[in-house]
Amino acid sequence: MFVDILAFNVQANIFQYLNIHKYRIHKMPLNKKIGLFIPCYVDQFYPNVGIATLELLEKLGCQVSYPMGQTCCGQPMANAGYEWDTIGTTKHFLKTFLDYDYIVAPSGSCVLHIKDHAPAIPGMEKEQESLHQKIFELTEFLTDILKVETLHGSFPHRVGFHASCHGHRGLRLGSCSERNEPFYSKGKQLLEQLDGLEWVELTRTDECCGFGGTFAVTEEALSVQMGKDRLEDHLTHGVEILTGGDISCIMHLEGIAKRNQQPLEFMHIAEILNQAIS
C-alpha cells in the first residue's frame, strides 16, 4: 500500500515534469509562489473557469496553490455602497494571500476592487501596498509577468472579445476607445497566438455589457437592453464564441442569449487558452 502510493507520487511527479517541459516556452518564475484567487461567483457557478485558470498556469510552469480559506473579496458590497462594511473581508483577504509572491485571478473586476476600492486596514498599510503590487488579472499576468509570446495550440473559431470595463478601463488591459493612444489588447495578444483563431472586430469595441454587479438587478431593464445590444454587435459580425476576462459579464450576456435562443457560445479566455494548448 505504502509502496503503491510512493510509486504513484513518483509517477505524478514525472508526469508533471513532462507537462512542464511540453508547455514551458519561456523562463517561468518556477521558484515563485503563486496564489490563485478564485472570485466567489466563479467558485460557485463557473468552477471550470477556475480549473482552466489553474491548469493553464500549471502548464506554463507556475507553482500555483489555492488558499482554501479565501472568501469573497467584498466587491459586490463595495460597489453597492458598503465599502465601509467590508473591512473584515478585506483584512481576511490580505491575511490569506500574505505569503504569496503573486496573486492571480481570472477576473479584472475583482482585481480592480482589491487595488482601488478595498478599504485601508489600519496597521497593515505596508502589506496592503505590497498586495496591490503583486495581484494580477490573468491576462496581464500572462503578458506582463510571464511574458507569454508563443503559445502552441489551435482554436479554429471566430472569436469575439468582450472587454469588461473594470479590466479594460480600470486595469487598462487594452487601449480604450475614448483615449488617443496606440492600440493594444492583452487579450488579443494572447488569443492571436493560437492557430486558426479569427479575432472578430466589433463596431463598438469596448462598450459596457450592462452587468455592473447589483446594477444588473436594480436597473434590470437597462441592464438587459445593454446586454442585448452587445450581443447584437457580436452576432452581426459573425462571432461564434464570445469570450472575455470576466465571467460575470459573460454570465449576464449568456443568460440573455440563452433566453433568446441566440446561436452564440460563451467561454472565459482561460478556458480557450487552456483547451487550445492541451
Binding site: 466587491q75 453597492a80 473594470h166 447589483t214 436594480t218 434590470e220 437597462l222
Partner: protein, 452 residues
C-alpha cells in the same frame, strides 16, 4: 420617481430608444475621430485639468481679480449666493429698464436657477433663442441634454410642434424648412427684446472678459440688438489667463459635437457706448461642493456633454430619467450634492464602466465619484449589508434601493441568501436572463479532490 422606473419607461418604446442610443453614439464617434486627429489630445486634457485644479484651489483670488478687471471695463458685477438671489438680481435689472420681454441664449445656470418660470411669474416674456431650447420651451419641457436640448425629439415631433406653434405646413419634416420657420419667428423676438441674457462658458480673470460659445450665433444676435446684456455665470467658470482659452476652446468643441471649433466664440469685454453689461456671479451650492474633498473636482466641468453621449445608460434612458437639471454622469455626481435624498438613485444609475472619465476633456474622475457617492448614500441611509440580506431573506422588501435585489450572484457574495430567494418569483435576474446552471461541485470542492 427613481431612475430605474423612468429608464424602463423610456425603454418601452424600443425603436425610439434605439434611435436615441445611435444618435448620441454618432456624436461620440465624431468626437472620437476628431480627437484622434490631434496628437497632443491627451496632453491638452491634462493641461485643462491642471488649470482647472489651479482655479479651484485659488478660486477666491481669481474671482476677485475677475471682478476688479470687469469693473474696470465698465461691467456691472453682481454676486448671488443662491438661485433665489440670482433671480432677484436679474429681475431687478429688468425692472430698472422697464423691460417686459427678453431673449435668452443657452444657459444651464439659468435652468438650474429656474429663471424662466420666475420671470414669467413676474410678467416677463422669456424667449429661448437656441433652436433646441426654443423647441423644448414650446413643449414646456426642460432640456434633456446640456448641449443638445431637444435630442429626445424626432423630426416628426418637431414638425408637428411647429405646425401648431408656428403654422408650418402639416407633415413637412424638412429640417431646412423647419429651421427657416424658427428663424423668422425668432427674428421678431430678437428685434423686440431690450435685454438679452446669456450664459458664460469662460470668464477670464486676467482681463475681466468672458466668452460665450454658440453654434447658432444666437447669443451675439441677442446681445447686439439689445441695450442691456446680462451674463449669468457660475463662479467655477473662471480661467486664469486669456491664453488658456486656446486649450479650452479646442477641447470644448471637439468634445461636445466633434467640430474643430464652435461656430461662434464671442468675447465680451466692455459695453458698447450707451449700452450695459451685467455679470451675475452665482454660487448656489458650488462653495459647498468645493468643500467636499472627494467631489470638488466635479466643478471642473466645462459642460461639453461628452459624458452624456458616451454613457451607455444615458443613451438608453434619456435625459429626463435623471430628474435633475444636469443629467447624465456629471449630473449624477453634481445633483446629490444639492439634495442627497432626492437624487439618491442617480449614483447607482451606472455600471461604473468609466467611459465618462476617459472621455471628459478636463479629466474629472466621474465614475470614481459615482462610487464615492454610493458610499455616502448608504451611510446616510444607515443600513449595512447584513441587515439588508436578512431583510431580503425575510421577504421584506422595504429596504433601500441599492439592495432591492435578489439574484444569483449575491448568493455567492453574501452567503446568507437562501436558494428559495434566488429561485423565487422575485428573481429579477431571471426575468429576461437565464441563470447559469448550478454545477455539481464548486471549484473549492474540485480542488480539494484533485490537488490536495
Amino acid at each position: 420617481m427613481s431612475h430605474p422606473t423612468k429608464a424602463s419607461e423610456f425603454l418601452q418604446d424600443a425603436a425610439k430608444a434605439k434611435w436615441h442610443d445611435e444618435t448620441l453614439w454618432f456624436v461620440r464617434d465624431k468626437r472620437d475621430n476628431i480627437s484622434k486627429t490631434i496628437p497632443e489630445w491627451e496632453e491638452l486634457r491634462e493641461l485643462a485639468s491642471q488649470i482647472k485644479d489651479n482655479v479651484l484651489a485659488n478660486l477666491e483670488t481669481y474671482l476677485v481679480e475677475f471682478e476688479k478687471n470687469a469693473k474696470a471695463n465698465n461691467i456691472h458685477v453682481h454676486w448671488a449666493k443662491n438661485a433665489e438671489e440670482h433671480n432677484q438680481i436679474v429681475l431687478g435689472i429688468l425692472q430698472n429698464h422697464q423691460c417686459k420681454a427678453i431673449v435668452k441664449s443657452k444657459s444651464i445656470l439659468t435652468e438650474e436657477c429656474h429663471l424662466n418660470p420666475f420671470l414669467e411669474n413676474n410678467g416677463i416674456e422669456v424667449v429661448d433663442t437656441d433652436l433646441g431650447e426654443r423647441i423644448v420651451q414650446f413643449l414646456n419641457q426642460p432640456p434633456s441634454h446640456i448641449v443638445l436640448p431637444a435630442i429626445h425629439l424626432k423630426k416628426r415631433d418637431i414638425s408637428e410642434l411647429f405646425h401648431e406653434k408656428l403654422q408650418t405646413e402639416k407633415g413637412n419634416e424638412d429640417p431646412t424648412y423647419l429651421t427657416h420657420a424658427a428663424r423668422i419667428h425668432l427674428r421678431e423676438k430678437f428685434l423686440g427684446a431690450k435685454v438679452a441674457i446669456t450664459g458664460v462658458n469662460f470668464g477670464v480673470a486676467e482681463t475681466g472678459e468672458f466668452v460665450v460659445c454658440t453654434n447658432e450665433g444666437n447669443a451675439d444676435m441677442g446681445v447686439h440688438l439689445a441695450d442691456v446684456h446680462i451674463a449669468c455665470m457660475g463662479i467655477e467658470k473662471i480661467i486664469p489667463r486669456r491664453k488658456d482659452l486656446g486649450i479650452f476652446l479646442r477641447l470644448l468643441a471637439r468634445s461636445a459635437t466633434g467640430q474643430p471649433i464652435t461656430n461662434y466664440n464671442s468675447h465680451f469685454r466692455s459695453p458698447a457706448p450707451g449700452k450695459e453689461i451685467h455679470i451675475v456671479l452665482v454660487d448656489n451650492g458650488r462653495t459647498e461642493q468645493l468643500g467636499r474633498e472627494k467631489f470638488k473636482n466635479s466643478l471642473k466641468c466645462i459642460r461639453c456633454g461628452a459624458c452624456m453621449n458616451t454613457c451607455p445608460i444615458y443613451r438608453r434612458s434619456g435625459g429626463y430619467s435623471y430628474g435633475s437639471v444636469v443629467p447624465g454622469p456629471i449630473g449624477s455626481i453634481l445633483s446629490p450634492g444639492l439634495d442627497v435624498k432626492k437624487y439618491s438613485t442617480l449614483p447607482f444609475a451606472s455600471t461604473l464602466c468609466g467611459s465618462c472619465t476617459d472621455v471628459c476633456p478636463v479629466k474629472i474622475n466621474i465614475h470614481e465619484q459615482l462610487y464615492e457617492w454610493r458610499q455616502e448614500i448608504t451611510k446616510a441611509q444607515g443600513t449595512n449589508t447584513k441587515s439588508i440580506s436578512m431583510k431580503i431573506a425575510n421577504g421584506i422588501f422595504a429596504v433601500p434601493f441599492a439592495y432591492k435585489i435578489t439574484g444569483a450572484m449575491m448568493r455567492g457574495a453574501l452567503k446568507i441568501l437562501p436558494d428559495s430567494i434566488t429561485y423565487s418569483g422575485l428573481n429579477i435576474w431571471g426575468k429576461q436572463r437565464d441563470l447559469p446552471e448550478t454545477p455539481k461541485e464548486t471549484f473549492k470542492d474540485w480542488y480539494k479532490k484533485n490537488r490536495k
